[in-house]
Symmetry: C2
Subunit: 107 residues, 2 copies
């Protein structure tokens, strides 16, 4: 449980920055090199590299260096615990509304 | 677009802390007073109040004070843009895999 909490912390923190979400958006359409990721962005290459490191620490992105080119890939399975956590909260809320409806119907 | 990005920043940042997720979990089962939220937690009341303020800034929680009791309520609609963003990334990734499958079938 503690382990999953730590993972959620890291993934949600990684996604809370708009530049990192831009990188994830790009990678959801396929792998890209660091310079392909940096080119359309209005921030410096070192800043992009730092964002990629945060995404790698969270497990959302993996990268591999071949020659002088580092290629980044999305690990979409890492998004699943976040989806599940949000879905669980929503269904708890909906169950509550259903019970409230039943209670009002019974009166 | 910028507005939605700001909202996503705030909501994802708010959810990246385990104490704040504990508060959202509790509130997904129904409204609660600040002391009801604080009692089962191992952190100080002022720390809980600070976490509630971050959740209110993000729009995830609303609170109302009647007499001396402040009651907090989840605003589950605020979770929707996060769900949508993650779902959009996942479907972009799945479309990519489908196209890759079609390409390999055609060879």
């Amino acid at each position: 449980m503690l382990k999953q909490r730590d993972e959620l912390d890291l993934v949600l923190h990684a996604l809370s920055d708009p530049s990192r979400r831009t990188i994830v958006e790009r990678l959801s359409r396929g792998p890209a090199s660091v310079s392909e990721l940096a080119n359309p962005m209005s921030i410096s290459l070192p800043a992009v590299v730092q964002h990629i490191q945060v995404l790698e620490t969270s497990g959302l992105v993996e990268s591999e260096k071949v020659g002088r080119v580092r290629t980044c890939r999305l690990q979409p399975a890492t998004l699943r615990p976040v989806e599940r956590w949000i879905g669980d909260r929503r269904s708890a809320w909906e169950r509550r509304l259903d019970r409230l409806g039943d209670y009002l119907d019974d009166r």
